[in-house]
């Protein structure tokens, strides 16, 4: 029988959404062009070459190495790209994703990524073109709502703040705005102005966000109601505790 990955316990919609994020089998909801992505990431000018830190691997004459023979380099590594980052911030008011599930999604489904997980933000560092692949995937799919999730290299406390009246997660640096019913970014990740307004489309309705979210909230799917997840946490806790218990 073929092995089927079991990503996460739980019987609720939140648990189901977590499994989806981890599996990578998420619904595509919008298109983001390569140039628009490059603009909001802010690492290089759209259409410019990828800056590199070393020649393409094929030109480098690599040493004989069994590991190198076994592991196919990612496209970014092959080309010698520098390492750059994408950083997401997800509102605690039912944003579709959360830092840990962005990390799991990246680590499970992409190669050559270095995810970092904090409370307000989640960063992925990778060779530039590999990072862009992760960023585009997460921006274009149900992992992101343009109103409740956004690219922010700094000042990420909007994740826990009350929503402004227009429902767009608070941003100290005012990178995102609601204009004519769609969310636009007019600054890059770290708040530098960009040449055009990048359109990320309509915000999810409150109902849709509540349906797609991966955060437990008492006003949507309460954590205490997902008994299977709590039981699983208890099991992990007991096993880790027992492992270190050495009475002798």
């Amino acid at each position: 029988m073929a092995y089927e990955a079991q990503y996460y316990p739980g019987a609720t919609s939140v648990a189901e959404n977590r499994r989806k994020h981890m599996s990578g089998k998420v619904e595509k909801l919008r298109e983001v062009s390569d140039d628009d992505l490059t603009l909001v990431l802010g690492h290089r000018a759209p259409g410019s070459d990828y800056p590199s830190t070393h020649p393409p691997l094929a030109e480098m004459g690599e040493p004989e190495c069994s590991i190198r023979e076994m592991v196919e380099p990612t496209p970014g590594a092959k080309a010698g790209d520098r390492v750059r980052y994408v950083q997401f911030v997800d509102s605690m008011y039912n944003a579709p994703s959360t830092p840990y599930f962005r990390t799991y999604a990246a680590a499970i489904n992409f190669r050559g990524v270095d995810p970092g997980t904090l409370s307000g933000r989640q960063v992925v560092e990778a060779r530039e073109r590999d990072m862009e692949e992760v960023a585009k995937f997460q921006l274009e799919t149900e992992m992101s709502c343009p109103a409740l999730a956004s690219l922010r290299g700094a000042t990420v406390h909007g994740h826990s703040l009350r929503l402004p009246e227009d429902g767009i997660m608070f941003d100290m640096l005012d990178r995102c705005r609601l204009e004519n019913g769609v969310v636009i970014m007019h600054k890059d990740q770290v708040g530098r102005a960009i040449d055009k307004k990048v359109d990320f489309g309509k915000p999810m309705s409150e109902e849709e966000a509540a349906k797609r979210t991966t955060i437990y909230r008492v006003d949507n799917v309460a954590f205490r109601d997902d008994a299977e997840v709590i039981e699983w946490v208890h099991t992990i806790f007991e096993k880790r505790t027992a492992y270190g218990f050495k009475p002798e």
Binding site: I215, D219, F223
Partner: protein
Amino acid sequence: MADDRKRMFQKDLEIKFTKEHGDNKMEGGEITDKKVTYYRLGVDQNPRKVEMRKAGQEMADKRGLVGYNPMMHCGGIPLGQRALTPSFISGTDMMVETDDLHYVNNAAMQQMWDDIRRTCIVGLDMAHETLEKRLGIEVTPETINHYLEVLNHALPGGAVVQEHMVETHPALVDDCYVKIFTGDDELADEIDSQFLVDINKQFPEEQAEALKAAIGKTTWQAAHIPTVVSRTTDGAQTSRWMAMQVGMSFIAAYNMCAGEAAVADLSYAAKHAGVISMGDMLPARRARGPNEPGGVSFGHMADIIQTSRVDAEDPAHVALEVVGGACMLYDQIWLGSYMSGGVGFTQYATAAYTNNILDDNMYYNVDYINDKYDGAANKGTDNKVKATMDVVKDIGTESTIYGLENYEKYPTALEDHFGGSQRATVLSAAAGCATSLATGNGNAGLSAWYLSMYLHKEAHGRLGFFGYDLQDQCGATNVFSFQSDEGLPVELRGPNYPNYAMNVGHQGGYTGIASAAHAGRGDAWAVNPLIKVCFADDMLPFDFTAPRKEFGRGALKEFEPAGERSLIIPAK
């Protein structure tokens, strides 16, 4: 349990978030609202920030070099894009500007650490044995009183033996003194009251009896060197300064020969054999001498805070005061300055002692425990529930989910604790302290701390900064391990415990957990009865019975610190 209880943070958050402060225009709304208008008023909305900006401008004009300028923030977008709001000190009605809770801006916080760093405890018995058995000098209560009179002249920097000596000005070192304490009531009765930390007077009867039984007929000096000396040097200076003056005072008080060999024995006793520092020295990678905060164990810190002797019937309050004091010391001063730098660490620590959010979680837990476990959260030893994994899971889970749901039901509470590290600290401290209270077992409390971290991470899909993913994911594994370098009773762990050394936002919670186990049992002390008695002294500038209130007085500029230099600088 029913969810209709009035939250202890409700009034604080209503005043903080639905009333105007300065010119922040935050009048109206409910603390349960999920949406709000952000006016982006910058620093102009806040009187303290305006004052600081003006001071920065004046300083730049005077010295010809720019300094504080809020427009340097985020490339010209100053603080205050959301409302700048004050905070309440938990357990008090004191509303303070949060800037005034940085220890640089708060004289009470500075003095708390000064009073710990400049303190050591020195045994008198070894010295007395040397005098009596080796030199045949009679030691009586009268000679002890005379010695203490000499030492209270010498310890601040007065000369006692040599001629033509420089001395320190008494008005600059007026916070320096020595007192003694003993478990021997007969001896205590013979000691001049000005020199005595009176255990019978300072502690409830039951605690006094336990302390006296532990201390027995031994006698100890509680020595506090001058604040200004300690600030100019470091914690390792405390025992050295004390030992020099103790040695000289023995020579003077007992008419000894200044050069006789017995003096070396007295010095050895004072410097090494009979001295107890508040903190151990640290290894090379975090090198500090004794009496620096990284060496102050959680048990010592739990004993330094004195709420247990003035409010013993409310062990939750005892733990909360310990959490507040220890968060300030370990997060704001130790990790926030000694080990790192800057201003961010204040934000971690203040979450644990402002706006009654942790207090609400703790007292909810007390009610939950008392309902379910037949009064186990009340002070006592016969009422405790056995420390089992089932109990840890039950209390740790209920506490954590209650706290998580508060953040979900009260968006202003979430906004107040806008960083996940703040939330993680508060939730885990509540779970850990409550489990300690119920079981009387600090390591059971520590276990609940780690369970709380796991639950929090799964519920919200996020936790704190990277460190929470490191220490708090592996911490459960060392809770009940007692092998060297892997585990210890929580009372004996400290900031330099291997897994805790850069554990921002944790160490105050761990101290509360250590304290709660003993406060819950009604113990007179957590780990060291001598330290508990040493700080039971109303003469200390910082009131260790109420650290949170003292921080509030510091923020409101009502606290009078020691070690001031106005006597020796130009008048302004």
